[in-house]
């Protein structure tokens, strides 16, 4: 090292040694429970984040004081922009000093906010995205998931295709990480042949060229993962192209966020899910009826999982008596998952990802003219994800 660089290095060392401006965890015991929600509220996928936010706020309104404490909720929109989300997550943690960050919808946003939130010791609860990395080797004691591991709904569909004895399935997903996870998940439990495998552009709205390929291949079934607006378009174009004789298996494509737009075009299409609005239990009735009354819409899994996140925080904060300073006790209380989920059985695995049942669901029209998914059959019971074993926790 030359003298000059030595000098520079020591200057930097001196700067770094200045008293750190509250970079470590803020004293969490100010008597108020602060929760930051970070969801995609605008843009083509805004409907998903809106559902999740509404689901969370429904629980807040039903419980009144989460954890028996005065509660402050800060809601931010990530606009489905990871770079923006990373910034906003830092703002929640450093400036607003929240105790919990809840969200997001998309895996790419999770990738952006995971490190900035968890490295400060703040607890992050994902109510939708559950990427494989964070379920396995990169699992984190400050990170909880109330949804599923991304692969699981796809594994449900793979298992169904396997059960049906399909030999020739056409696979299609958007070209991003969750899309790839999706097809891998499907293949995890499906061993039959693959007629074709197509990755579409993320945000693609016209599927004519892909549908043309499907028409040309005439597969036993199509399996696809097309969340949000992409799914709406695909479903409409699928029925317009006259392909409905080919079974349409999907995940996150036909659900309560897209059904109001696709309506009859989606009826009869199948998906995999960890819950459906027609499940028969008391907790689900409170949730679905409450949601219908408050927002005049049928809730989807996005809303249900966010609702559970609020219930989870409530149960844990109550069990530690509102003491947010003892992080270890708080995390242990969270890990117990001591609340009644609308989906029935729910517990956390060692990686803080859920262990739960999975179902085949089908879109249908309700008596009130709205649309919903309904349970056809249970595919997996108390199902754990495939990455939990790699998690050192």
């Amino acid at each position: 090292m030359t003298t000059k660089t030595k000098l520079l290095a020591s200057t930097f060392a001196a700067l770094a040694a200045l008293p750190a401006a509250a970079q470590d965890l803020p004293s969490a015991n100010d008597g108020v429970l602060k929760i930051g929600l970070i969801y995609t509220l605008s843009g083509p996928a805004g409907a998903l984040g809106t559902q999740a936010r509404d689901g969370f706020m429904l629980a807040v309104n039903q419980i009144k004081e989460i954890g028996g404490m005065p509660t402050e909720i800060i809601i931010v929109d990530d606009e489905q922009r990871p770079d923006l989300a990373a910034d906003k997550a830092r703002e929640l943690v450093a400036r607003d000093q929240v105790d919990f960050v809840v969200g997001p919808i998309f895996s790419n946003i999770l990738g952006a906010i995971h490190k900035p939130v968890t490295e400060t010791g703040t607890i992050l609860i994902s109510t939708n995205a559950g990427t494989s990395g964070y379920a396995g080797a990169e699992c984190n004691e400050n990170f909880f998931v109330t949804s599923y591991q991304n692969d699981q709904n796809h594994e449900v569909m793979g298992a169904y295709a396997q059960k049906q004895g399909y030999q020739n399935v056409f696979l299609m997903a958007p070209n991003y990480q969750a899309g790839k996870d999706s097809l891998n998940g499907f293949k995890h439990s499906y061993t039959g042949g693959v007629a074709g495998e197509v990755f579409t552009e993320l945000g693609q709205l016209d599927f004519s060229s892909e549908l043309a390929q499907i028409a040309a291949f005439q597969p036993d079934a199509l399996f696809t993962f097309m969340p949000g607006g992409m799914g709406v378009n695909l479903v409409k174009q699928y029925s317009q192209a006259g392909l409905t004789s080919i079974p349409f298996l999907s995940a996150f494509t036909v659900d309560e966020t897209t059904l109001p737009a696709t309506q009859d075009a989606a009826v009869g299409l199948m998906g995999g899910a960890n819950w459906a609005p027609d499940m028969d239990n008391a907790a689900n009735k409170t949730f679905v009826d409450g949601y219908l009354a408050a927002y005049d819409a049928v809730p989807g899994t996005y809303a249900m999982q966010a609702y559970d996140a609020a219930q989870l925080i409530d149960s844990a904060v109550r069990s530690v008596g509102g003491d947010l300073t003892d992080r270890a006790a708080l995390k242990a209380a969270l890990h117990k998952a001591d609340f009644a989920s609308p989906r029935g059985d729910f517990s956390f695995g060692n990686n803080n990802f859920p262990i739960q049942d999975f179902y085949l669901v089908k879109a249908e029209k309700r008596a009130d003219g709205k649309y919903q998914t309904a349970i056809v059959e249970k595919i997996f019971d108390d199902y754990k994800d495939n990455y939990a074993d790699q998690c050192p926790l």
Binding site: G43, A212, L243
Partner: protein, 306 residues
Amino acid sequence: MTNLFILQLLNGAQLGVLLFLIAAGLTLVFGIMDVINLAHGVLYMIGAYLIATFAALTGSFWLGLLLMLPAALVVGLVIERLVIRPLYARSHLDQVLATFGLVMIVNEGVKILWGTTPLSVPLPALLSGSIPLIGPLQYPVYRLAIIAAGLAVAAGLYVVVNHTRIGMLLRAGATNRDMVSALGVNIRKLFSLVFALGAVLACFAGAIVAPILSVDTGMGESVLILTFVVVVIGGIGSIRGAFLGALLVAIVDTLGKTFGPILLHYIMEPAAAGQTGRMLAPMLVYILMAAILFARPQGLFGQRAS
């Protein structure tokens, strides 16, 4: 394989006529008024939102379409009067900024007026269903109708541009603006007309595509840039260039996405071919553009280089 090729060719043609409808207005606005308009893509979006609203109000796609056209004309005239007209004498930079601002305003305004949830427009019953092509192949009637409508508009524009007095002025304006105004033509009126015509065409494109796409706030963005590529390739101010450019871009894009990976299979490992194909496919149209510009900086049918 040939079946797939025919289908994709049809899909390319459908995308092509849509791009043409949008590009035709844009290229005239560039060519005649020398105004760069980034907000042309949001006009396409407005068309889709208008028809979604009118179709829902009247319960009929056709009535919706009929109401959409005069509404689009009004939108075009209002935008021209408020934002575009003060920009005629300004630099391209000012035009970029102001129309960029307009994009922000319209995108956000649409969110306020219609919400963020994507809307949907039902297919007109007359044009639903698909017709059989060869073997098991089917093709949606509605998409064929889009192709037909686009070609009809193209033919109509051809007649107007080449065989009417207005068309003569348009052609003259695209070649030499100053000469036209020196000849005593009311240039301001001509400009309003051109802009409104472009707006109606873009709205029409958005409206006819609404039944097959979901109507949402992002829909103008991707189309805008493809349209720029079309205009640049075809040559600014040239309707014929816009038509051929649109078809070229659409077909290269559609075929590239399907056949790129398939062709690469012959020279690479399957996994690597899939990967490379996916990387190259979205870039193909830009590479095409670069190649054409390298040979002809003024585009295929452009009169002048700037």
